[in-house]
């Protein structure tokens, strides 16, 4: 499969929270829920971003946490941006499955296309009320959208995994899909195992090529960019790096916890 690059014009910009924006652009490249693009900000960096919309109009939803993400959020309607992709294996969801989506923070962006396609139950967790984003979008497609905040300022008082455990106890889910901070996903995977529910989680690593060539985003023997970024239960079980280690730009091991 030949991946393409394309320079697109920003046609919409929405503020989702004090530091998070959704940028929309027209791009007819085929994409599936869970795929990502490499976004180039000239003179600054090029970084992977999950697609938060995957139709003919696509979008990325970016939280400004560093130089690159802040530069992306400085883009305005009418500006050009060069993208590569869409890359990676996305979520693989059979129609018959009863699905629960569990998002932590801006991780919800990667789940929105799957929530749209399945109308699945959704949990959106964040540190506080102001950081709950895209819940309005999720509600357009899903009848059950629950929120959790660490400080109890909105919805369930606690984290998204604690809330997911409660929901798994009440309803028979076949599949949990998730995206968020890796430590959260680690405990989500554990919770799914305890409840004997399959899971597919979207992971993240420092990336260079994005196309399965350079080998800098390896987790054990798998490339996050090409074999992932979405990994299923069995793959996750075999990843000793999951929740424990990542690698820096030099390829050195860095402990996550």
């Amino acid at each position: 499969m030949l991946h393409v690059s394309e320079t697109v014009k920003i046609i919409g910009k929405m503020r989702e929270s004090k530091d998070t924006y959704t940028l929309e652009f027209k791009w007819d490249a085929p994409a599936v829920p869970g795929q990502f693009v490499m976004v180039w900000i000239p003179g600054v960096d090029e970084v992977p971003m999950s697609l938060s919309r995957i139709g003919k109009i696509k979008a990325i939803t970016v939280k400004g946490i560093g130089e690159a993400s802040n530069a992306i959020n400085d883009l305005q309607v009418g500006d050009y941006v060069r993208l590569r992709g869409p890359y990676g294996n996305g979520f693989s969801i059979k129609k018959s499955k009863k699905v629960l989506a569990v998002a932590g923070g801006v991780g919800v962006a990667a789940l929105i296309p799957a929530i749209k396609e399945t109308g699945c139950d959704t949990i959106i967790g964040a540190r506080c009320e102001g950081e709950i984003i895209l819940d309005d979008v999720a509600r357009k497609y899903s009848k059950s959208v629950w929120t959790s905040t660490d400080d109890g300022s909105r919805g369930f008082h606690g984290n998204a995994v604690q809330l997911a455990k409660k929901k798994m106890a009440l309803r028979d889910y076949d599949l949990v899909i998730g995206c968020g901070p890796e430590v959260m996903l680690y405990f989500l995977h554990e919770a799914c195992k305890e409840n004997d529910v399959e899971c597919q989680l979207s992971l993240e690593r420092f990336m260079k090529c994005g196309a399965g060539v350079c080998g800098c985003c390896m987790m054990d023997r798998l490339r996050v960019c090409k074999d992932g970024p979405v990994f299923g239960t069995e793959e996750l079980d075999g990843l000793s790096d999951f929740g424990t280690r990542k690698r820096d730009e030099c390829g050195r091991i860095v402990d996550l916890r």
Binding site: M1, L2, H3, V4, S5, T7, M38, W40, P42, G43, D45, E46, V47, Y80, R82, R84, K208, C209, G210, A211, G212, V213, C214, G215, C216, M218, D220, R221, R223, K226, R247, D248, E249, C250, G251, R252, I253
Partner: protein, 324 residues
């Protein structure tokens, strides 16, 4: 005879001895003092920064893996963008990222459990190359490949490897510091790759590897800038295959040491082209991205079919046939 050579040359050659015990296939090759079960190796720079990744390539059918080029110190490489697809391949300017030889020893240990590993090293002078190569030998590498050809790292690679005098002196310095075979990976970004090949042979190289990427640039029309942060990089993939085949053909004619062919191989027919041009073995890089690690198995099966159909009993019988 051959196994004796290897045991002598490679005291830690557990893997090579293990290989000897494996049933010999028609794909087995011998060149210089090395014997590999399969003729296709993973090219340096592709999925070879970690031990598990290299092991996966060997299990996928690579006869050996060549490591990411390793230097003395950890190095992050160039800032992104470092890579982009183009018609016919990739242009990259990774900038020699690597964890440094000390940390890389752990990755080598993991990879070596799966099969033979060729250690690729880069330095800015002959002494660094010699020190790194000796470390690679200590780590268990079955050969060392000198990166004299990376086109996008200031002070390294092609910047020193374009001058035959440097090639000769670096190879010669490495030869006196290691017992394992020394290969020189050559740049095509020169008026005469054959001159570089002769210099490597004069310095004592046991093989030359050709070619590295072709110096290249991609510019975004809308953004009016070169895409790669380093501005220029190296072109790899199907687009450079005819350039590589020509280089191998010429080198084979001029040198008496074996040539390892690399550049744009993505199927058995590409591999056969290189062998027929005079390559004793070949390496696969970009196709690991486009076709996945399974490309090694596909090439192996395709070559075996081709050999059956055309009456070749061994890879060696194919080498240089197109030159006759």
């Amino acid at each position: 005879m051959i196994s004796l050579f290897i045991t002598l040359a490679h005291p830690k050659g557990v893997l090579l001895r293990d290989l000897h015990a494996v049933a010999m296939g028609r794909l087995e090759i011998t060149f210089g003092r090395l014997r590999l079960e399969r003729p296709g190796m993973l090219a340096s720079g592709i999925m070879d920064e970690t031990g598990d990744s290299m092991a996966r390539m060997i299990k996928s059918g690579a006869g050996a893996v060549v490591t990411k080029s390793i230097g003395l110190e950890p190095r992050p490489g160039h800032r992104n963008p470092t890579f982009t697809e183009v018609e016919g391949g990739y242009v990259n300017a990774m900038g020699l990222p690597n964890p440094g030889i000390e940390l890389f020893a752990e990755e080598m240990e993991i990879a070596l459990r799966a099969g033979p590993v060729v250690g690729s090293v880069f330095g800015s002078n002959a002494k660094d190359f010699a020190v790194l190569s000796a470390r690679m030998e200590d780590c268990g590498a079955c050969a060392v490949e000198l990166n004299l050809s990376c086109p996008h790292a200031e002070g390294y690679g092609a910047e020193i490897g374009s001058d035959p005098k440097n090639v000769r002196s670096i190879v010669s310095a490495v030869k006196s510091s290691v017992d394992i075979p020394v290969w020189a990976k050559l740049t095509p970004n020169t008026s005469s790759i054959v001159e570089l090949g002769r210099a490597a042979e004069d310095g004592g190289a046991e093989a030359v590897v050709a070619i590295n990427t072709l110096k290249a640039m991609v510019i975004s029309a809308e953004l009016r800038k070169p895409v790669l942060s380093n501005r220029f990089g190296g072109l790899s993939g199907p687009a450079i295959k005819p350039v590589g085949v020509r280089a191998v053909y010429d080198l084979r004619g001029a040198l008496s040491i074996p040539v390892v062919g690399v550049g744009g191989i993505s199927n058995w027919r590409d591999a056969a082209e290189y062998l027929l041009a005079g390559a004793s073995a070949f390496q696969v890089g970009s196709a690991v991205g486009t076709k996945g690690p399974k490309v090694f198995g596909e090439i192996n099966r395709g070559l075996e079919m081709f050999m059956s159909d055309h009456g070749y009993g061994s890879i060696a019988e194919m080498v240089g046939v197109a030159r006759e």
